[in-house]
């Protein structure tokens, strides 16, 4: 117990130190505007990847509708700040809560499905949200909402990200998180050992949606404009790529994946024709050399020693499923 606490506080201190250094670099102007918006994007993407990892990596439910939840949070908080003058932080949290409500509503019927079927159902959900936004005049239709106050600062973004990571990680490393892991490992055995599998699937889905909604709200207040097109299925896949690249089931992996993909995205902006090619090559190389992801947890790499062949096959079938 003491050990866990010590490690935990060391992590917090390291995070705060990182925050301080970046804050100094920003105020002294060493980091320019491009780099600043990249840092904000990293915070959003880390929140998205860590929350999707809870659903896909920990609970083992293959969901690819994460951009849908992000969109619900983004629109909700943007409308609240634009039309109702709700304080910024409150609007973000409200966006997350509305997204979480959608998580419960979507999760209850779809989580009866397994594997591919769940993937298709969640993909459908994401698209339905997008089409609804596209055809609703109140939220601006195809041109979306613009003039959203750019209130996201590095400080606010960083602390939202830190809270997300800490809360989700605490959840994973508790008896409730173990229940989710057990569902991923063997659903029938988990149920037979007294775990209410339906309940825990919905909980994981709802928590994931909550933080994705908040990430959506933060990104809306960073980039002034949101359109339905910015939350299409490609965005869902981008989040999935971060999680898979970092290693399914590893929180640290999701963070690394999110940072890596955002860096790639930003620095390849000048050569757009090469971006998707490099993107794919990175993924193919990962599938060949590290099928468990960059930081696949030690648990996975240990398993790999025993069943190298089986693991490699598993990795390939995973990638074809995505």
């Amino acid at each position: 117990m003491k050990k866990i606490n010590k490690k935990f506080w060391l992590g917090i201190i390291a995070a705060l130190a990182l925050y301080g250094v970046v804050q100094v670099l920003l105020t002294t102007g060493i980091l320019d505007d491009v780099q600043r918006s990249m840092l904000l994007l990293i915070c959003v993407n880390v929140m998205l990847a860590v929350s999707l990892n809870l659903i896909n990596g920990i609970t083992g439910q293959f969901s690819i509708g994460h951009a849908g939840f992000m969109s619900v949070g983004a629109y909700t908080s943007a409308i609240l700040t634009l039309d109702y003058d709700v304080p910024f932080v409150l609007a973000i949290v409200a966006g997350g809560i509305v997204a979480a409500i959608f998580g419960v509503l979507i999760g209850m019927p779809t989580l009866r499905l397994n594997g591919d079927y769940l993937a298709i159902a969640t993909l459908g959900f994401g698209e339905i949200i997008r089409i609804i936004m596209l055809n609703t005049e109140y939220v601006g239709g195809a041109s979306g909402l613009s003039g959203i106050p750019a209130k996201s600062t590095w400080t606010i973004m960083f602390f939202f990200m830190l809270i997300t990571v800490v809360l989700i990680n605490n959840f994973i490393r508790s008896t409730h998180g173990r229940a989710c892991l057990a569902i991923r490992e063997n659903e029938i055995a988990a149920e037979a050992m007294g775990i209410n599998t339906t309940l825990y699937k919905v909980i994981a889905f709802t928590l994931g949606a909550l933080f994705a909604g908040m990430a959506g709200g933060l990104s809306a207040h960073t980039f002034y404009v949101i359109t339905p097109g910015s939350f299409n299925f490609l965005k869902s896949f981008e989040i999935l790529v971060m999680v898979v690249l970092g290693g399914l089931g590893s929180t640290a992996g999701s963070i690394v994946g999110a940072v890596f993909v955002t860096l790639l995205y930003t620095y390849l902006r000048d050569v757009p024709e090469w971006r998707m090619i490099i993107y794919s090559i990175v993924l193919i190389l990962m599938m060949i050399f590290r099928p468990g992801g960059l930081l696949g947890s030690t648990k996975f790499s240990l398993k790999k020693f025993g069943k190298k062949e089986a693991k490699a096959n598993g990795g390939i079938s995973d990638s074809s499923a995505s």
């Binding site: 117990m1 935990f8 809360l167 605490n170 959840f171 508790s174 008896t175 409730h176 998180g177 173990r178 229940a179 892991l181 057990a182 490992e185 063997n186 029938i188 055995a189 988990a190 149920e191 037979a192 050992m193 007294g194 775990i195 209410n196 599998t197 909980i203 648990k299 996975f300 240990l302 398993k303 025993g306």
Partner: protein
Amino acid sequence: MAASATAVLLDVKEASRSFGGLKALSEVSLHIKKGELIGLIGPNGAGKTTLFNLLTGVYPPSTGSIILNNESVGGMKPFKINHKGAARTFQNIRLFTAMTVLENVKIAFHQHAKHSMFTSMLRLPKHFKEEDEITRKALDILKIFNLADQSEELAGNLSYGNQRRLEIARALAAGPKLLLLDEPAAGMNPNETRDLMNLIAWIRKEFDLTILLIEHDMSLVMGVCDRIYVLDRGMLIANGTPSEIRSNPKVIEAYLGQEA
């Protein structure tokens, strides 16, 4: 005292289960008293595992009732039946292979944890208190099964025999009144089987358990069980003490076939 010792723990009344046109179990009735060790035998495809699946809620009985500890559990979800006090193992081992041995056992204690997920997410004192308690209890169970020094090993890396033992340990950790063991000695050599049977006899006494056991090894079943039920083609064809079963012509017929 005498009354409670002979009270019926599990009472199955004319339970049937069909899959489409196939009647896997027809009107099976059996009862198990508290503290008994009951064997369930029968040729391949007789419906033994189907009966286990009915008892643990994997699917509901088509007709008939299942009463566990004076409460009807027919049609309840598996996790509910587990909470009511029936825990099982599986014929084909179903461990959480990418989790550690300790974590596997901790899963069974989840139902007794009182703290909410918000307590865990905010790391309030109650989280640590209950988590420590779960770890301590899980280690105690592992010690009984001689698995404590492998507690940090991944369950998937254990030897076959140890995986079987871990499954029993996990079922036991749920704190059941009725323990259902589906071929616990399958794939074990005679020495391992004998050790396992001694262990089962010991935990039965130590934890005051009632046990229902599916097993193929006749000598073993005859040796340890108080009573034996025999299933054949979905029907109960015999029930009685081991010596009665051994000389029952119906049982001999089911296993060896009819004389020409």
